[in-house]
Amino acid sequence: MKVRYDQGSREDGIETSTISGVPVKPLYSSDDLDGYQEELPGEFPYTRGVHPSGYRGRLWTMRQFSGFATAAETNRRYHYLLKAGQTGLSVAFDMPTLMGQDSDAPTSRGEVGHCGVAIDSLADMETLFDGLPLGTISTSMTINSPAAILLAMYLAVAEKQGVPLSAVSGTLQNDILKEYIAQKEYIFPPEPSMRLVVDSIEYCAAEVPKWNTVSISGYHIREAGSTAAQELAFTLADGFAYVDACLERGLKVDDFAPRLSFFFDAHIDFFEEIAKFRAARRIWARHMRERYGAQNPRSWQLRFHTQTAGVSLTAQQPELNIARTALEALSAVLGGTNSLHTNAMDEVLALPTDKSARIALRTQQLIAYETGAANTIDPLGGSYYVEALTRELEEQAEAYFAKIDELGGVIPAIERGFFQKEIADAAFRYQTELEQKRRVMVGVNGFLVEDEEELEILRIDRGQEQGQVERVRDVRAKRDSARWSKTMTQLGKAARSNDNLMPYILDAVRAYATEGEIMGKLVEAWGLYTEQAVI
């Protein structure tokens, strides 16, 4: 059937293209499915999902990202969330921890415990997981440059709990490439950073087989202002770069690829997001099988965590953020996410309170248990519009892969500022569209109220910083200094060799070396990275 339909724009002048700029037609029909082939979930190329039974077999993991102030405070929040029905843990670290420095470093001043929990040594990690059995709970840790150290601390806690490493499960973000591209929490230059990532992959493949070694992240790329298509393309390009690096080390693709996972943003452009998730699975499967020759279906299957878009939340009329988050979470579920974090309404102002964190979790439970969205697999599969968008996003991603190849690969493209410029341009374009009211953010550039009621927010006690500073000094004073010194010397030597660093880092962590001390040793060997800022 050839459908003819008027292509007119919206009468109110609002932009009708997707946020990625894909023109959207007023009507889609079977014409848009030209060449479409029936697919099944659980089968290559997994457009419709990686599990043949969808959410009937198992719901997504409800994993709320959480961490603030001290390890003891955060431990209390973890017990609270698990009691409320959360099914996995996810650690948010504070800025000094993310940047590999101790709480008493001069540049940590004012940052300790503010946007996550402060972890300086194994002692803090022991407190963080007090009363939480690491053999049965899975934990996700959002950390990148110092990822290997925090993983070592986690494994050391498991050892102390008597849990064998083969039983430990969880996910390490450990995605350094997107730090150079978007989030900017890099420390070392790209090359030694990649070595550390591959070291942790290699170590886990042998010792911690249930650990997801890298969570290749589009979230930060998107939050930095990219479009959905850029998020998709840059993230998968990073994924291929990790595969290339592991192959170069001599690892076999099927030995590590099943433990690579992904992390995407669920933004507000509902259908485009669903298409993005579907396209991601299809692209990964095709490349892993056809380009890398992976044989194990687990290597083809893209599994991902989703977080709703922090950047879509508004400080104005913040209660509306509950509705935004619900819609974004629904897009993630319709796109087949394996795990989900829903933002709390107050996260545009501060870290969430107990109450707002509970509402965020309840939003997921509402989708899972009230809406029926989990009852059928890939309910939008075959939709004229969603299938056409899925294909469109796949084509845009492939065009970006070609461009990145032309630039010599991901790292050369980073060094030339390619991703950074693409993202900054997209962010500026979107902001301009808002300014011109061609796109609407309710409560921000339309539908305003005169008197905003103030929301009660979580305040981090500024006094807790001093407490944490004293704690880390206490650890340094009380540890076995001969043992500490020996492990540090060995680590320094290993950093200059080709040895896998994980065992050395584990030894240092067990001797209560602090995160800042370990990073210091590595910086001595590898130096620091600085970027040429582009605006």
Partner: protein, 135 residues
């Protein structure tokens, strides 16, 4: 002389979408913008402003460290006898902190969702002569 503005990310957080968008909008509005990049200490920011002969410092923070780092920039300006340099800021800064920061001399805070035009208008109003000068 057009208005010269040093835009900076102080502290450890690397969230630079906001600062870059604002920097570009200010440049498009005819101001001279110097973006310092990430991880600046209060001392580095003030030194940059003095070196660049800037009249304005724009700070961006998303890490919750604003109540330590913004006052530190203000103090550093006092220490270097450069209080005439105006400071404004933006980022995840709650209402009651805004009141406190204004008390210590921060000219304006632009919370999330602030229109770019508001920032441009604010600077033009404060610096009418420089704003009229051709870039």
């Amino acid at each position: 002389m057009p208005l010269r503005i040093v835009m900076a990310k102080v502290g450890l957080d690397g969230h630079d979408r906001g600062v870059k968008v604002v920097a570009r909008a200010l440049r498009d509005a005819g101001f001279e913008v110097i973006y310092t990049g990430l991880r600046q200490t209060p001392e580095m920011v003030v030194d940059a402003a003095l070196q660049e002969d800037a009249q304005v410092i724009g700070l961006s923070l998303h890490s919750g460290a604003h109540m330590t780092l913004i006052p530190a920039v203000v103090e550093e300006l006092q220490k270097k006898k450069a209080e005439d340099i105006m400071v404004f800021a933006g980022g995840i800064i709650p209402e009651e902190d805004i009141t406190e920061l204004k008390k210590i001399g921060v000219a304006e805070i632009f919370p999330p969702g602030s229109p770019l035009q508001d920032i441009v208008d604010f600077l033009r109003e404060r610096f009418p002569e420089e704003a009229a000068a051709p870039a």
